[in-house]
Symmetry: C2
Subunit: 282 residues, 2 copies
Amino acid sequence: MTEILNGKILAEQLQEQMRREVEDLREINIHPGLAVILVGEDAASQVYVRNKERAAQKIGIHSLVLRLPATISQAELLTEIERLNADKNFHGILVQLPLPKHINEEVILDAIDPKKDVDGFHPMNLGNLFVGKKTMVPCTPAGIMEMLKSANIELAGKNAVIIGRSNIVGKPMAHLLLAENATVTITHSKTKNLAEVASQADILVVTIGRAAFVTKDFIKEGAVVVDVGINRREDGKLIGDVDYQAVAPLCSYITPVPGGVGPMTITMLMKQTIEAAKRMEQ
Amino acid sequence: MTEILNGKILAEQLQEQMRREVEDLREINIHPGLAVILVGEDAASQVYVRNKERAAQKIGIHSLVLRLPATISQAELLTEIERLNADKNFHGILVQLPLPKHINEEVILDAIDPKKDVDGFHPMNLGNLFVGKKTMVPCTPAGIMEMLKSANIELAGKNAVIIGRSNIVGKPMAHLLLAENATVTITHSKTKNLAEVASQADILVVTIGRAAFVTKDFIKEGAVVVDVGINRREDGKLIGDVDYQAVAPLCSYITPVPGGVGPMTITMLMKQTIEAAKRMEQ
């Protein structure tokens, strides 16, 4: 029997816990705040930012969306970040990506105070993750770890294979799984015999951004399959990087798309904002 | 035919190149300097520090060894580091480990200015390595990359397996090999069927600290084997983590112990000191 790792339900449960925690924090005069910087008019970014605002509101985190014109200079944007770094009302700062081409994303992300970097993208936080310190972690892999934990999936000694090596999903995922004593393999576009490598995985995390790329051949019977992809098919339907229909029957656990990893990402963003507030105010 | 990756000869060649570079830098008034902090009287540490002094001297890097008593407080040690962070004569600072037990190593390493962290241990530098920025890198994996490069060993698309997951060898090695498009597996004490996993490696890096741990069963015919271990046998002989006699005939390339990785580590330390000087002074 395949169990479906329902991220939507888990996210709702966690968000409800957080709502109560934020209520309690208010009594000791801690008011978690999240500042989101949105540059330009990118349609997808607008949707993502609106979803973050809504989640924050639901939990009771006060939020600010700073909407800046696409024509803003890098120096002006840095000034805004400096201002938010110094603003005690906000414990989390995130810059919605992508930024306009004339702005260097790396410079901008590096300018965020690591203590307020609730997206976990700052090299200082990634370095802390690397050495195994408690730190802010990129939200998607953090959400995946919550899902695995909530289903009591054993990780120690298991073969984990990650398909995709981005700085915000694949690489941090490797460190998080390693910290739980999994044996970790990172694969990517240059990997040879990818299906064969993947089919040795007890835990397979797919974050490659290609619709239904992972087929039955990639799967060991009984594997746990985590699908990070969100791809829009020509008919408008959202599908993952995994060919769900074909793969699901072989798995012990699988995340659906949508309703799997997606809702967990935003939930972890809220969790890290609350944690940042507690660290700064207590 | 097995080729031996002779780190001693390569280190000498590189050090000679560096000596000439330092000579040239002197003409434009750049004088690379390395400060080494040695706390207490640990015999092995004394040897390591002396070797670093000697290498620096040979290359023309001016060096300072700050010998501090084992009784120094953490606060006093931090003050010394602050002083060296501000001292323009020194472009590299390293603290010889281990430190006395009453001092928190993490706090000390984090206090070194990342720009002077020629050991590459600071979380900021490890984070930069993580995201793929040019940065100071832990010297042992940096030295291994130099050895592989100097032998023109292809890495892209190859299966690399690392045995051992320390912050200063195993993990940075994974990122360096990944950046060269290898498929990378990190294994450790909790890995199951370790010999079987290792025997799929085209490149096998062993850094587990157990004498002659890696036997023939771990090796795919034609593999490149890099042995980071240095263990002293009861009869006083230094041996690696690999059973060299048994394994070498199966390999395409292998590093001996001693005379393999060891001499490269100190060479990379010197290289990063020169690079730090160039970055700071130019």
